[in-house]
């Protein structure tokens, strides 16, 4: 038994392993407490070993060195220290050479530096001295040039030569010195090489020696350690053996004890078992009977359950069948529904597309219709214009036709009058007087001016006054205007403007806002329209009334001007005329100039005047029905009267005379015609007679007669000449 070192350690560990469980309680022991203890110990031991392994060999040794195993540990520690020292010393020994060479190198470097410095100094000195010498020599050359005696020159040249030789010699010496040094250095180099080789040899030697030493000491130490471990192992073995024996004895004793205990216990247990068995048997029988009963009951129940089960199964099968069929149906329906859905989807899509199409179509239609509408409006406007135009033309035509017809009628009447006069004078021998009728003097159509509404007049007034300044054709217009002449347009306008300004409250607020962007004149117009509608002024007359009222009002309130008042009376009287009489009468009225007062009615009084006017206006108004304005329809009632009157130019009495005359004349005529006819008949008969005479003559003169046996002439008496004569 001589294991190597590494194994020794292992063995030692194994020994530990073996020794520990024996000391403590055994795992295989009968006592559970002891087993638990043993296991615990084992776990502890394992932990311990693991830790030891982790810590390494050294700690292992150290821990155990405290008591029995100190020997091996001491040995190991000792040898370790020894070896470490050895290694340290050895490396020091080896590295000493390096250190020594290092320091030698440093010294060499220092010396080298010194020598270098010296050499440099020397060289510099040399350079300086040689330079001096050289300068001297060059100076002497100058001198030599001045020398003229050849002897002197010769001498001088000699000395120069000597000097130069000296200089060169110096240089040569220096060079040889340097070469010497170089050689020395070479030698030194060789020596150094040798020295280094020696050093290396020494180093190798030392290293080898070191290796040898280390090996030797390692071996020694190994053997020492091994021995120590061996001894320790022996000791451990003996001690463990003793322990083991002791433990074995104790174990045997304990086992015997346990055996006895066990026998006792066994007997006890047997008794208990018998008792238990008997008791168990009884109980077992009881339970068996009970259970058998239970089994019977349960079997019955089972049968019942089976029956119900059968029933249920059939039912369920039937249900299943039904459900299957339903399922099929439902699938069919489902598919149908799906199809339907698809179809409906298609339709929906179609409808959508159609809808969009229609929207487009309608939009287009709408556009076209709007354009149509616009066009139509345009057309309508044009038509209106045309209509107005045509109305004018129609008027004109009508007038022309009227005139033509009138002329014709008058012509006819004239002729009738002529005839009448001829009859009177020629046939009757009565003196004739021309009848005098009103319609005979009439020329042109009977035009009755309709009454205009207040607003129209206002418009006209406004228009007129606007155009007044520029145009002189006012007269023409005035003919259409139905302004009462007593009130000038200007005054009216002013009054109206005042009214408009002052009675803004009568106008609706909405209208005002709408009026803002309009022109001034239009604005006035619309305002006045609104005011009039509020006041109840509708017709032309009302307007004039108003105007006159204002004028009057002012007159009343201006008593200061007495002269004026007298003048103002005139309008008062005139004022009634337009209301009662027609237009023509108005025109025929003497025109009265209404003096224009620069100051019209004061704006503040307008409202008062207005109020008074309205109060006054309301009374007469009430019974009157408002006139319906008929603008376009011409009053043709007088026309027929007129034309009828024209037809009755000749009175019926005269006609009767004419009729009687006519019949008498006709009778006369008849007689005359009869006579004329008779005359004609007479003529024709005469002629006929002559002809017949001629024919007879002819016949008589013809040859045939001569040939005849009996000549007709003979028969007849020829009366030709005589009859014609008679006749004629």
């Amino acid at each position: 038994m001589n294991p190597p070192g590494a194994l020794g350690i292992l063995e030692e560990k194994e020994d530990e392993h073996l020794s520990t469980p024996i000391l403590g309680p055994s795992v295989h022991s009968d006592n559970p407490q002891e087993r638990i203890q043993a296991r615990r110990l084992r776990i502890a031991a394992r932990l311990e070993t693991r830790r030891r392994e982790a810590l390494g060999e050294y700690l292992d040794g150290k821990k155990e060195s405290e008591e029995d195993q100190s020997k091996s540990y001491k040995q190991k520690e000792e040898s370790r220290l020894k070896l470490a020292k050895l290694l340290l010393c050895g490396t020091e020994l080896v590295t000493n050479i390096q250190v020594a060479t290092d320091i030698r190198e440093i010294q060499r470097r220092v010396e080298e530096e010194e020598i270098k410095r010296q050499r440099l100094e020397k060289l510099e000195n040399e350079v300086k001295t040689s330079q001096d010498k050289f300068d001297e020599i060059t100076a002497k050359w100058e001198e030599g040039k001045q020398k003229k005696i050849p002897q002197d020159l010769w001498d001088m040249l000699n000395t120069q030569q000597l000097h130069c030789a000296g200089l060169i010699e110096d240089k040569n010496k220096l060079i040889s010195e340097l070469q010497q040094e170089l050689k020395m250095k070479d030698d030194q180099y060789v020596k150094d090489l040798k020295k280094q080789a020696d050093d290396i040899c020494l180093l190798l030697e030392r290293m080898e020696e070191q290796v040898k030493n280390v090996m030797k000491t390692f071996r020694q130490e190994l053997s020492h350690i091994e021995k120590a471990f061996e001894v320790e192992r022996q000791e451990l073995l003996t001690s463990n053996k003793k322990k083991w024996e002791r433990a074995l004895q104790a174990h045997n004793a304990k086992e015997l004890e346990y055996l006895l205990n066990r026998i006792k216990k066994v007997e006890e247990y047997e008794k208990q078992l018998n008792k238990q068995r008997v008791w168990d048997c009884e109980e077992y029988n009881m339970i068996k009977i009970k259970l058998e009963q239970d089994v019977q009951i349960l079997e019955q129940q089972l049968q019942q359950m089976k029956a119900t089960y059968q029933l249920n199964q059939e039912k369920l099968e039937y249900n299943f069948q039904v459900l299957k069929k339903r399922d099929e149906e439902s699938t069919v329906i489902k598919s149908q529904q799906k199809r339907k859905i698809n179809r409906l989807h298609d339709i929906l899509n179609n409808l959508r597309s159609r809808y969009t199409k229609q929207i487009k179509q309608f939009q287009e239609e709408n556009q076209s219709l709007t354009s149509d509408y616009k066009r139509l409006v345009m057309q309508f406007k044009e038509l209106q214009r045309a209509m107005r135009h045509f109305a004018l033309i129609d008027d004109e035509k009508f007038r022309e036709i009227w005139l033509m017809n009138e002329e014709e009628a008058k012509d006819l009447i004239g002729r009738a009058f002529d005839v009448d006069r001829i009859i009177h004078t020629h046939h009757l021998g009565l003196p004739w007087t021309a009848p005098d009728f009103w319609f005979l003097k009439n020329l042109g159509p009977i035009s009755q001016q309709p009454k205009k509404s207040a607003t129209e007049i206002v418009e006209e007034v406004l228009m007129q006054t606007e155009e007044e300044g520029s145009e002189e054709t006012m007269l023409e217009l005035e003919s259409y205007l139905d302004l009462p002449k007593q009130v000038s347009a200007k005054t009216t306008r002013k009054i109206l403007m005042l009214l408009c300004d002052e009675s803004g409250f009568l106008i609706e607020s909405k209208l005002l806002s709408l009026l803002l962007p309009l022109e001034k004149s239009e604005c006035y117009l619309l305002r006045l329209d609104a005011i009039f509608s509020a006041l109840g002024i509708e017709s032309e007359d009302d307007l004039y009334k108003l105007v006159n009222f204002f004028l009057k009002y002012r007159a009343h309130h201006l008593p200061s001007s007495q002269e004026r008042s007298s003048v103002m009376v005139a309008p008062e009287s005139v004022e009634k005329l337009p209301t009662e009489a027609g237009k023509k009468e108005k025109l025929s009225e003497v025109e009265q100039e209404v003096p224009f007062s620069p100051r019209l009615i004061h704006p503040n009084d307008v409202l008062k005047a207005l109020e008074a006017f309205v109060m006054g206006l309301n009374k007469p108004r009430d019974p009157r029905t408002p006139l319906k304005k008929q603008k376009d329809v011409r009053d043709d009632s007088k026309d027929s009267e007129y034309w009828k009157a024209l037809t009755t130019v000749i009175p019926p009495a005269k006609e009767n005379v004419w009729d009687a005359l006519y019949t008498a004349l006709e009778k006369y005529h008849l007689i005359l015609t009869k006579r004329a006819r008779l005359l004609l008949e007479n003529d024709s008969l005469e002629q006929h007679n002559t002809e017949l005479q001629m024919l007879l003559q002819q016949y008589l003169d013809s040859k045939i007669n001569s040939e005849l046996q009996v000549p007709p002439t003979q028969v007849f008496r020829v009366p030709t000449k005589e009859s014609s004569a008679l006749k004629g």
């Binding site: 810590l55 390494g56 050294y58 700690l59 150290k62 821990k63 405290e66 008591e67 020091e92 000493n96 250190v99 020594a100 290092d102 320091i103 190198e105 440093i106």
Partner: protein, 499 residues
């Protein structure tokens, strides 16, 4: 330990011997000794049986019938024959991945290490095969230096050999570039300790050093450019380490300065190369006589490099200006290790380094051995260490430091809790300086190494310091073993004994 040692001498011996012998030795290494005789029997019969097959089947049968010793066990299996055939024709028809794992193993055990790399490089992953290849080529193989991968080792060393033998202008660059697709997945490090300069003389002798000695005096700097690594490095996907020396090895007495010329063109090309290589972690350029300007070019290209962790520019001619760039690089990279040993750094350079170091949080190790930073630089560095919380290793050996630096360093020692190793050897610390350092050490609990050899320190203080270091080392060991229960061993001991 014995098991590890044995293969090396064996491989050494087997190397000069014949290939068969080598194969057998390799096989003996790869497999246990038991299968070897079995395989020997397997190898021999196929030849026989093949001859018989071709000649006459009947006769063979008759012979077998008469042979009393004949048994089915002697007849090689068809699968064995197939494997044999595959091994024989592996160069022309490499069948491996389609086979069962067992058969694959057999084939790999029998493949010759001389197969062309184009066949094997991307096909064979088996370490045993590559191990045979390596041991056949090189007597000494440190697999551990190559990530414990024989394949990687093989390709790395193969590439290094090619690079070492490359003579610009003479060797065909395709030699290296052809290898690129084969080794791009395996090479992680390029370690080249010599770059041969181009040859000027028309007859090129085999050895580079002789040719260089012959072309003495005719070398011009423009013509001494070395191999440009750009294409190679760009092709290698996993390159992490670049260890270069622009120089010639073993020149002996044929020494000439031109052999060690790191030209500007080399420098620019190298700078561009390492800038483009984003996987590079370690970059070493030593013993190349690199001066300030070249160092600055290189280090400028390394600014903000994404991966670089270690930069080694030892044994060059870098002065204060170069070091200033290095200081700038410190604050613009994730550099963890910076080695500027044996350069010409003086006090200003050390001051700029100290300035960068004061707020640096990446640098772990700084080496300024064999420079001449003197007390001014040393004091600046000591001041920087008072605020620095990262640096663990500092080497200031051979820097002409003396007492003032020591006093400042002793203050640092009592404050700093990160430093684990300081080297002040070969300085002139002096007796008083030693005492002050000892005072500083008494408050320090983290320093593990403190080298004061040959620095004029009194033996007594040196001994006391080493005692303190010893204590610190013990404490560190405790911490390393038991990081969670820092003070537990003393408290848990009695507990354990009680339980």
């Amino acid at each position: 330990m014995q098991d590890n040692l044995t293969p090396l001498p064996m491989s050494v011996f087997s190397r000069p011997s014949e290939t068969t012998q080598d194969q057998s030795s390799a096989a003996s290494q790869a497999t246990s000794t038991a299968p070897q005789p079995v395989k020997a029997t397997v190898v021999t019969p196929p030849i026989k049986s093949k001859g018989l097959n071709t000649s006459n089947v009947r006769r063979m049968r008759r012979i077998i019938a008469e042979d009393a010793e004949w048994s089915l066990a002697i007849v090689p299996l068809l699968s064995e024959l197939c494997i044999q055939h595959i091994v024989k024709n592996f160069q022309n028809n490499p069948i491996l991945t389609q086979l069962l794992p067992e058969d694959q193993r057999k084939i790999l055990d029998h493949l010759s290490p001389d197969l062309p790399l184009t066949v094997t490089a991307n096909l064979i992953e088996n370490e045993n095969y590559w191990r045979r290849c390596c041991t056949q080529r090189w007597p000494v193989c440190h697999v551990a230096r190559h990530g414990s991968s024989w394949k990687r080792m093989f390709f790395e060393r193969h590439l290094e050999n090619l690079l070492k033998q490359f003579i610009p202008g003479t060797t065909d660059p395709a030699v290296i570039l052809d290898l690129l697709p084969l080794c791009r997945n395996y090479v992680r490090r390029i370690q080249v300790d010599q770059f041969l300069p181009p040859i000027r003389l028309p007859p090129p002798p085999r050895e580079g050093d002789q040719s260089d000695s012959g072309s003495e005096g005719e070398m011009e700097e423009s013509s001494t450019d070395h191999y440009q690594l750009r294409d190679l490095v760009a092709g290698l996907k996993h390159l992490e380490e670049l260890d270069l020396v622009y120089g010639v090895k073993d020149c002996g007495m044929n020494f000439e300065w031109n052999l060690f010329l790191f030209t500007y063109r080399d420098c620019h090309s190298l700078a561009a190369t390492i800038k483009a290589c984003h996987t590079l972690k370690v970059f070493r350029l030593t013993r190349s006589r690199m001066d300030d300007d070249k160092a600055r070019i290189l280090m400028r290209s390394l600014l903000d490099h994404p991966a670089l962790e270690e930069l080694d520019l030892s044994h060059n001619l870098i002065g204060d200006r170069g070091v200033r760039t290095a200081a700038k690089l410190l604050s613009h990279s994730r550099l963890r290790v910076l080695n500027l040993a044996n350069n010409q750094v003086r006090a200003p350079g050390a001051q700029s380094l100290a300035h960068a170091l004061a707020h640096n949080t990446n640098l772990v190790s700084l080496n300024l051995r064999l420079n001449c930073i003197e007390d001014e630089g040393g004091q600046a560095l000591a001041h920087a260490l008072q605020t620095n919380k990262c640096l663990t290793t500092l080497h200031l050996g051979g820097n002409e430091l003396s007492e003032p630096t020591a006093t400042l360093l002793s203050q640092v020692l009592s404050v700093n809790t990160v430093l684990t190793s300081i080297n002040l050897s070969c300085n002139h610390i002096g007796l008083d300086g030693g005492k002050q350092l000892l005072e500083g050490m008494s408050d320090n609990k983290t320093l593990l190494e403190f080298d004061l050899r040959l620095s004029d320190v009194a033996q007594e203080s040196e001994y006391l310091i080493s005692q303190a270091l010893q204590a610190n080392r013990e404490a560190a060991r405790q911490r390393a073993l038991n990081p969670s229960h820092f003070m537990s061993p003393t408290t848990s001991g009695p507990e354990n004994s009680a339980g």
